[in-house]
Every structure is written in structure tokens, then in C-alpha cells.
């Protein structure tokens, strides 16, 4: 009799085990779209027999496990920063490309218009219309330089806003990871902490998209995270917040970790991409634009100063002399006196109003190699800037696509271990369902056998 009762207990345990299996299968199906969820499997073990007349004690549930390959997680955390850095650079440069203007309406059009106006002035140096046209073209070019410089500045400010946003996101994530580390450590690496571990891995993955991270898994299930050449973000249950401070004169954000400036050491993630766009790429483009404006103003002024205006007076500055290369584009302006009186445009090479030698020389400035140590014209300088921006953008897009494919491959491999296959879960569901039915039938048989046995005494 003890045998039948123990068989009944074993059958009951088996039913519970199959029910648990169905529960886990249902959990897998329910979380098929949950980010970071790793497929759960039930660990079952046979209960050994207690004596020689017993076949065994049935089955017991040892627990649930999440199927996860930490190597794939690490690879993903290594590759994600690169992909997101390049994508961030590509997005930032997309804005810069728009700032340069459409292909047939960029700064080159306004530069050419100014030189055309000088050429027409050379044709009719005493014409009031031609002189007004020179001033109008110059003012149009000044607007184009200022607008382009302004748009580059705006792109830098946009990158700065994104940097500040990224730092806020980092702080939220490190706080959460630290909380999860604490919770997992308290519970231990058991089935009860699996969802916390899922969330922890997913949080680190999200963090890796923002900034390049280095991780160390702790024995208690936590994960230590650092960035920017070893600066701590999370150590156990402690979160180390990242801060930003606005640095004069630009007011742009400097990223600090425990008071140390780490901005220049951030080399990955969208934060790294935005830092690169804000602090390296756009300033280089702005310097090229400023050099173009400075050289234009300096060369035009030098020629204009050798000429004579309609009154036979020696020519002054055509543009307001720039203070230096830095900021030349945003501060470029036509000389105030000249703007108000086109008669002051010094087209003549001698004190004779009908002469046009200086106007011709100004028109010829179009082909003069005044940039790059005497190798490049002004218009070529603009074309070079467009080329550099295009090349950088194109390279970032290609690198982002390439990195994205690598990330996708790793995620596919990771999903191959941790992901949910609905067909597989359907098969598991059938398996546990059939097992449940069989065990229920066995339970019924044992119950009937017990009834027969109990009926023998009557």
C-alpha cells in the first residue's frame, strides 16, 4: 500500500511538473516580443527510488533556466558602440550636408555671382547699375557665408543637446543597472532572478548603444560597467553618475566622470558620435569656411585698395577687414560706406573713372590660386569643403551599414540561443500537454487501483 500511495504522490508531482512545463512554455510565448527576454527551459530530474521495490519517485522540478550565451552578449556590447557611433556621425553629417545648400544653390553660386558682377563692372565701370549689382552680389555672398556658418553652428548646438540627453540617459541606465545588481545579488542566481537578469543585460545593451562600455561579470550575478578608458559607471550596487558642465566661451557640454573631463576619451556609441561631430568634424568644416571667407575678404580688399573710385579717390576696404580666420564667415560684411555709396567701388586702376583695370583684376580673382599655399582657387576651396563633408558622411554611412550587419549577425546568433521559436514552443506545449494527459491517466489508474485495494477488505 505504501507503494500505491507513493505512486499517487509521484503521479501528482509529475502532473505538477508537466503543468510547470506548460507554464514555462506559456511564459516563453507571452514574452516572444519582450526585449532582452531569454528563453526559459524547465530543468526536470527523476526522483531516485527509496527502496528496492520502488522504480523511482517520479519527477521533480529542479528549476528554470534562461538560455543565454554570455559570449554573444559581450560581442554585442563590443560591436554596438561602433555601429551607433557611425550612425550618429552619419545623422549629424546629414544635417551638415543640408547646411551646405542644394547642389545648384550653394555658396559657389553666390561667389560666382560676385565675380560676374565684377566682370560686368569692368565692361561698364561708370554704370550705376553695374555698381549697384556689385554691392548687391557682395551682400548676397555675405548672407550666404553667414547663413552657412550659422547652420554649421546650429548643427553643433544640436549635437550638444544630444550629448546632454545622452548623459541623462546614461545616468538613468547606470542607476537601474546598480539596482538590478543589488536585487540579483540579494536573490541569488536562481530562477527567481531570471527576469532581473534579462533586464540587466538589456540595460547594459542599451547603455552600450549610447557609450562604449567595458563590463566585468560578478560572481553574484551583477555586472560592473566602466567607460572612457576605465572610468566607473557601475560597481556592484553603486552607480557613478556622469555629469555635464557648460564650458565657456561656447557653452558646450563637457562630460565629467567624478569631476574628471572624459569628453575626449569617449570613443563609441551615439555619445561618442555626437562628440566627434560637435568637437572634431564640424569645427574642421567651419575652419575651412572661415578660411574661405577670410581669404576672399583679404584678397578683394588688397586689390580694391589699389584702385580708384568714381571720384578719383583711392579705394578703401571692400569688405570689413576680418580680425582673423576664426569667425570670418559669420562676421563677413561689406564695408558700410561702400554699401551706402556704390560710387566708392574702386574699379579703375588710375584716377580716371572710365578705367576698369581693378574691376578686371577683381573678376580674375575667380581663377586666382589664393588658397592652399597657392594651389587652389576660392571656388575650388568650396568644392573641396563639399567633397570632404560628402566623403565623411558617405564613409560614416558605409561604416554604419557594415557595423549594423555585424550587429545583426551577432543578434541572430544570440537569438539562436536565447530567442523564442513559436513553432518550438508549440511543440513543447504539445509535449507537456501529452505528458500531462498521460500522467493524469496514470493518476486515474492508480486511484482506481487503490479503490480496488480498499474494496478488498469489505
Amino acid at each position: 500500500m505504501p507503494g500505491l500511495f507513493s505512486m499517487l504522490s509521484a503521479a501528482a508531482r509529475a502532473l505538477e511538473a508537466q503543468r510547470f512545463g506548460l507554464d514555462v512554455t506559456g511564459q516563453n510565448v507571452a514574452n516572444v516580443n519582450t526585449p532582452g527576454y531569454a528563453r526559459r527551459v524547465v530543468d526536470l530530474a527523476a526522483v531516485p527510488p527509496v527502496d528496492r521495490v520502488s522504480a523511482g519517485g517520479g519527477v521533480e522540478v529542479l528549476g528554470t533556466r534562461a538560455l543565454r550565451d554570455r559570449m554573444y552578449d559581450r560581442q554585442l556590447w563590443t560591436e554596438l558602440p561602433g555601429e551607433h557611433l557611425q550612425q550618429s556621425v552619419a545623422d549629424g553629417l546629414g544635417v551638415v550636408e543640408i547646411a551646405l545648400g542644394p547642389p545648384d544653390d550653394g555658396l559657389d553660386k553666390d561667389l560666382a555671382a560676385l565675380f560676374d558682377a565684377f566682370a560686368r563692372l569692368a565692361d561698364t565701370p561708370t554704370s550705376a547699375t553695374a555698381r549697384h549689382e556689385v554691392i548687391a552680389s557682395a551682400e548676397g555672398l555675405v548672407s550666404a557665408f553667414r547663413d552657412t556658418a550659422g547652420r554649421l553652428s546650429a548643427a553643433r548646438r544640436d549635437a550638444d543637446v544630444r550629448i546632454r540627453g545622452a548623459v541623462a540617459d546614461i545616468n538613468q541606465l547606470v542607476t537601474r543597472i546598480a539596482e538590478l545588481n543589488d536585487a540579483i545579488s540579494a536573490i541569488g542566481l536562481t530562477g527567481r532572478s531570471l527576469s532581473l537578469q534579462d533586464e540587466q543585460r538589456e540595460a547594459v545593451k542599451t547603455l552600450a548603444a549610447i557609450v562604449d562600455v567595458q563590463t566585468i561579470d560578478r560572481a553574484d550575478g551583477g555586472v560592473d560597467v566602466s567607460f572612457a578608458r576605465g572610468r566607473p559607471l557601475v560597481v556592484g550596487e553603486h552607480a557613478y553618475q556622469v555629469s555635464v558642465t557648460s564650458t565657456p566661451p561656447s557653452g558646450f557640454a563637457t562630460v565629467l566622470s567624478e569631476g574628471i573631463d572624459v569628453t575626449a576619451t569617449i570613443a563609441g556609441g551615439r555619445l561618442g558620435g555626437d562628440v566627434q561631430v560637435r568637437d572634431t568634424l564640424i569645427p574642421a568644416y567651419a575652419t575651412r569656411l572661415d578660411t574661405l571667407a577670410y581669404t576672399l575678404a583679404t584678397e578683394v580688399n588688397a586689390l580694391h585698395g589699389t584702385g580708384f573710385d568714381l571720384n578719383g579717390t583711392a579705394g578703401g576696404a571692400f569688405f570689413q577687414p576680418p580680425g582673423g580666420v576664426a569667425g570670418a564667415a559669420s562676421s563677413l560684411s561689406v564695408d558700410n560706406a561702400l554699401a551706402g555709396d556704390p560710387g566708392l567701388v574702386a574699379a579703375a586702376g588710375v584716377a580716371s573713372p572710365g578705367d576698369n583695370q581693378v574691376a578686371r583684376a577683381l573678376a580674375d580673382l575667380r581663377d586666382a590660386r589664393v588658397l592652399g599655399g597657392g594651389t587652389t582657387t576660392l571656388l575650388q576651396g568650396w568644392a573641396e569643403l563639399v567633397f570632404v563633408v560628402g566623403t565623411d558622411g558617405s564613409a560614416a554611412q558605409a561604416a554604419a551599414r557594415s557595423s549594423g550587419e555585424v550587429v545583426q549577425q551577432i543578434e541572430t546568433l544570440r537569438d539562436g540561443v536565447s530567442g523564442i521559436s513559436l513553432d518550438e514552443e508549440a511543440a513543447m506545449m504539445m509535449r507537456f500537454q501529452r505528458a500531462y494527459e498521460a500522467n493524469a491517466r496514470f493518476f486515474t489508474v492508480i486511484d482506481e487501483s487503490l479503490q480496488v485495494l480498499l474494496g478488498l477488505g469489505r
Binding site: P103, A112, D123, G354, D355, L379
Partner: protein, 296 residues
């Protein structure tokens, strides 16, 4: 290898997005006729297109300058032709006066005719184009000679105004009136004609001979000036053809770099549309199959 719900979906979505991106790119090409919209589409082509477009603008400007220069040179040429005619007429009158059998009235008539040619030459060299005097050198706002009487000395300067009709060629669009009408002589042609008229009126044969010789030398100077104008006009004509050819070449280069090959773009659009349909259909087909559908 396990193929999971999410990996299958993610791969299919990536394929759909890639197909959609290619479709959008082809749509833009067909709609705008351009393959370059931003520098990253093709950086070197974009840079080259900027250069080609600039070259076209330069050539357009030279074309405008050429047209303007041609007009002025025609006016200059026409004025010089009139001067030559007047000089020839004056020489005829001088020849007619070189005889002792004329009456005083006849001499007076010849003198008046010679003075008439002097006034005609003054009129010719006072020609202006768009308000600019063509025989004042670079002092084009100043008339070369004042009418007086008497006609003034030359009021312009010794320079000429040139314009660039190509990168390597310039043409003079004004003349140094003093060089044409006086040259290295002590007197300009107006003084010569006035003296000739006096000599004709008084029957001064020596004076008439002197005037005749001076008119000969003036004739040479004017015809030399006209030859230079003629040479420039002829050069302008061939330069214009060259400019037009270069303009077409610059436009072709820009178009090659920047414009889409419409036939190729339309064909690509069709292919891209089909590829996107296939990607969407594949996702739909793959997700129709599920073991759950077969479970009782």
C-alpha cells in the same frame, strides 16, 4: 541553427527597409532627374559638378562680355569708317583747290567744304556707347574734344579700356583719340583741316601741299586703328564659337556627373518596386506558417 520568431522578423524587416531605401532613391532620381542630391551621394562627382557649373557660369560671363565688346567695336569701326570717308573727301577738296584758276567764291566754297569734313570728323570721334565716349581712352566719361569754336585740344587720356573676352584674350573697346588724330604730329587733324581750309581760301599752294601730306599721314593712322579693330572683331567671332563649344562641353560634363540616366532610373525603379513587393510577400508568407495552426 535555430531560427526564432524575432530573428526571422528582424532579418525580414532589414530586407524590407533596404528595399524601401533603394526604391526611394530611384523615385527621387526619376522625380528630380538628378542622381546627386547631397554630397554623400557621390562626393567626387558633386565636387566635379560644382567645378563644371562654375565653368559654365564663367563662360556665360565671357559670352556676355564678348557680345558687349563686339557691339562697341562695331560702333568704333563705324566711326573710323566715317573718319576715313571725311579724310578722303577733304583730300579731294584739297586737290581741287591746288590750282590757280579758281575764283575767290570757288575757293571759299572749297574752304567751307573742308571745314565741313573737319566738323564731320569731330562728330564721328565724339561717338559714345551707353554713355561712354569711345575715343577718350580710359577717360570715357569725358568727351574727347570740345566743339568750341575753336575745337579744343584732346581731353581724354593716353590709355585704352580693355575687357577680357576669354581667360587669355583681351580686346581694347576704346581708342586713344589723340594717337589716332594726332599721333606724333605737332597738330591734330582738326588743326590740319582748319589750316588747309585757310590755305584753300587764300590760294596758298605750299599750305595746301602741307595739309595734303598731313592728311595722308592721318589717313594711315586711322586705317591702322581700324585694322586693329577689324582684327579684334574677327578674333571675337572665332572666340564666340569656341566659347559656345566650351559651354556645351561644360554642360555635358555637369550633366554626366549630376543628372540621372532616366532610362536606367526608370528601369531601376521598376526593379526596386518588385524587390520591395518580394520582401513584403516573403515576410507575409513566412509568417503564415505556424505549428499553432495545426494543433487541435
Amino acid at each position: 541553427m535555430r531560427v526564432t520568431f524575432n530573428s526571422g522578423f528582424a532579418n525580414a524587416l532589414a530586407a524590407i527597409n533596404a528595399a524601401a531605401e533603394r526604391l526611394l532613391q530611384r523615385q527621387q532620381e526619376v522625380a528630380t532627374g538628378r542622381r546627386l542630391h547631397v554630397p554623400s551621394d557621390d562626393p567626387s562627382a558633386m565636387s566635379g559638378a560644382i567645378g563644371a557649373r562654375n565653368e559654365a557660369r564663367v563662360l556665360d560671363q565671357y559670352r556676355r562680355t564678348t557680345d558687349s565688346a563686339e557691339s562697341r567695336l562695331h560702333v568704333l569701326d563705324s566711326a573710323l569708317t566715317e573718319v576715313i570717308k571725311s579724310l578722303t573727301t577733304a583730300q579731294s577738296h584739297a586737290a581741287a583747290a591746288r590750282t590757280t584758276v579758281l575764283t575767290p567764291e570757288q575757293r571759299d566754297a572749297l574752304a567751307l567744304a573742308i571745314e565741313g569734313t573737319r566738323d564731320a570728323i569731330l562728330n564721328s570721334v565724339s561717338t559714345s556707347y551707353n554713355g561712354l565716349f569711345l575715343f577718350s581712352g580710359s577717360a570715357s566719361a569725358t568727351e574727347p574734344y570740345s566743339k568750341g569754336p575753336p575745337i579744343s585740344a584732346y581731353q581724354g587720356d593716353n590709355l585704352t579700356v580693355s575687357v577680357d573676352v576669354t581667360r587669355t584674350r583681351e580686346v581694347a573697346v576704346t581708342a586713344n583719340g589723340d594717337a589716332v588724330l594726332r599721333g606724333s604730329e605737332p597738330d591734330d587733324v582738326f588743326v590740319v583741316l582748319s589750316n588747309l581750309a585757310t590755305a584753300a581760301r587764300t590760294g596758298d599752294m605750299a599750305g595746301i601741299d602741307q595739309g595734303f601730306a598731313a592728311l595722308d599721314r592721318a589717313f594711315d593712322r586711322v586705317t591702322t586703328a581700324q585694322s586693329r579693330v577689324g582684327a579684334d572683331l574677327s578674333a571675337i567671332e572665332s572666340q564666340r564659337r569656341h566659347l559656345d563649344e566650351m559651354r556645351r562641353a561644360a554642360d555635358r560634363q555637369r550633366s554626366t556627373l549630376e543628372d540621372a540616366n532616366l532610362a536606367e532610373s526608370i528601369s531601376g525603379l521598376t526593379s526596386a518596386e518588385q524587390a520591395q513587393r518580394a520582401a513584403l510577400s516573403a515576410l507575409s508568407t513566412a509568417n503564415r506558417l505556424s505549428l499553432f495552426d495545426f494543433l487541435r
